[in-house]
Amino acid sequence: MSALRIYVPGDAASVACGADDIAMAIRAAAAAHKVSVQIVRNGSRGLHWLEPMLEVETDAGRIAYGPVEPADVDSVFAAMLADGGEHRLRIGVPEEHPFLKKQTRLTFARCGIVDPRSLEDYCAHGGYRGLNRALTKPAPIIDEITQSGLRGRGGAGFPTGIKWKTVAEANADRKYIVCNADEGDSGTFADRMIMEGDPFVLIEGMTIAGIAVGATKGYIYIRSEYPHAIDAMNDAISSGRRGGVLGSTVCGSTYAFDLEVRVGAGAYVCGEETALLDSLEGKRGQVRAKPPLPAHKGLFGKPTVINNVLSLATVPIIMDKGADFYKNFGKGRSRGTMPIQLAGNLKFGGLFETAFGITLGELVDDIGGGCFTGRPVKAVQVGGPLGAYFPRALFDTPFDYEAFAARDGLIGHGGIVVFDDSVDMAKQARFAMEFCSVESCGKCTPCRIGSTRGVETVDRIIKGIEREKNLSVLTDLCNTMKFGSLCALGGFTPYPVMSALTHFPEDFKPKDFGAAPHLEAAE
């Protein structure tokens, strides 16, 4: 009898929920039952409230159980032995779970399914079909990406194909592909999940980018807060070299491409592409003025494609299935799918990939199930620390780049953080300014000084000191930061601040200080 194959996610979220201990306990249970098991440390399926979610391979497909606590291991293992038998924690066939069934998984097609350490498994699940198609006719790669409508998934939403075309047309002795894996936004974890759960898709995407623009070297800049992702990418790159998909003859072709992981050092601003390039060059991560664009003068002054993990990880499926297949999903100018990350105070948090166009309300209430605290949802921050807070009144906003922009928000990297009614929005506005002041690279004045003045001004408003005057100072300051900052850190910090102020003005009323005029007189 062949070994029983059991999947215990090795994704950091699962590990943080105890998956390593569960994997050890499964081994012990198997030894006690004298059963031979093969434990695969897969990525996470993204049903994070069910982590650690274990799966066993049966004749009827994979059967999942979760969330498995150490005390459940013996009984879950017994159920697994009974061909995926009944158990209080039995979820059944994962694909049949409504949370997964409602999704359209293109970028995340393999995440949680394959063994992230196995190039063979990646290929068995459709990996490298995109690259092989690209190799047969390298010229139209960029056309295909452009026609697919793929836009930068890091947040800026710039058309990926146009970026690539600019680099392809640039004349230089060396060009680079840089992957921005500095996923610093709170509420986002899709990059991490891809790197830990399906690292080869990123390698394939970067290789296709290299072939398309004529670059032979790529860097993946991963934040230091992601040790599991760093290990997973390094392992995958080594297997890629051994397997001939990286190196001097990519997949036996005449193209050369190799990758290197570089580790960040805890600076949020390095998620901004030009600061990231400076950091890669070994400098302080300071933002560069544009122009020149990185596509013309990027890493070490050479033409550089710099893309987010999700953008690059979406390239293989576009090349495999064609631009038309991809662009048929989505709405308006937001084509394809977006891996949305449901986080914070939600019953059902996790990764939900779906075509653009789903409304914020559907995501928060229907998919996310509302707050796990059982209290009403008060505010939802979309797009990370630089994203706007949305009240329930705006829950009809469809999830796409333009619709969010029209409501003074942004989708950013697709993170949604839900807060219940215990949140104090003035405190959140203050935090946004404070975060900006700590993380500012210091290069431009609106961000460096404005954020500090912003904290002080919010403090005065909360205390009721010259309230009206300070409200107009804050509004003016946000305006200056928005239009005067060099990059999105200073430029977008006004989004959380102003949205909190606009949608939740009651939270900015003085709390412990009685009436404001009295204090104004005392000032």
Binding site: H48, V263, A267, S279, G344
Partner: protein, 158 residues
């Protein structure tokens, strides 16, 4: 994951620097390497890095002080990092952070006088769907509550 930390050793520093110096943009890999070996960036290493990379000491100092990760003094034997970012705020990390400060008798960013533990904030471990989260000596912990936090604090006593 407590790594073995070495006391200052110029030869060891030279070795670490030499191991990375030929990489393009070698500064960060060198500094990460030094911190891995010594637990921080020892001051005498700064001119050594400057010379090898042909940059000024000020430039190296500038890089060391720019990034939150690089320490100019050794951390405690245990490092407890609690995520303070929005997704963890939404699930109550502020109260847990205050509890950690109180129980350890430390403010964020401080190391205990006996060099046992350092308490630090971290801005996002990417565990936002299973928040609040923390990291102790490199190990990630999700769904942090008072009981789990107290266990982590107890761990730092060892």
């Amino acid at each position: 994951m407590q790594t073995k930390i070495s006391g200052w050793d110029a030869n060891l520093a030279t070795e670490v620097i030499a191991g990375h110096k030929d990489r393009d943009g070698a500064m960060l890999p060198i500094l990460h390497g030094l911190q891995e070996v010594f637990g921080y960036i020892p001051e005498p290493a700064v001119p050594m890095v400057a010379e090898v990379l042909n940059v000024s000491r000020a430039e190296v100092h500038g890089v060391v002080t720019f990034y939150h990760d690089f320490r100019e003094a050794p951390a405690g034997r245990h490092v407890l990092k609690i995520c303070r970012a929005e997704a963890c705020q939404a699930t109550g990390c502020d109260a847990l952070a205050a509890r950690a400060e109180e129980k350890l008798g430390l403010k964020f960013g401080e190391t205990s006088a006996d060099g046992r533990v350092t308490l630090e904030p971290i801005y996002c471990l990417g565990l936002c769907s299973v928040s609040p989260s923390a990291m102790i000596d490199g190990r990630v912990v999700a769904r942090l509550d008072e009981k789990k936090l107290d266990a982590l604090i107890e761990e730092t006593a060892r």
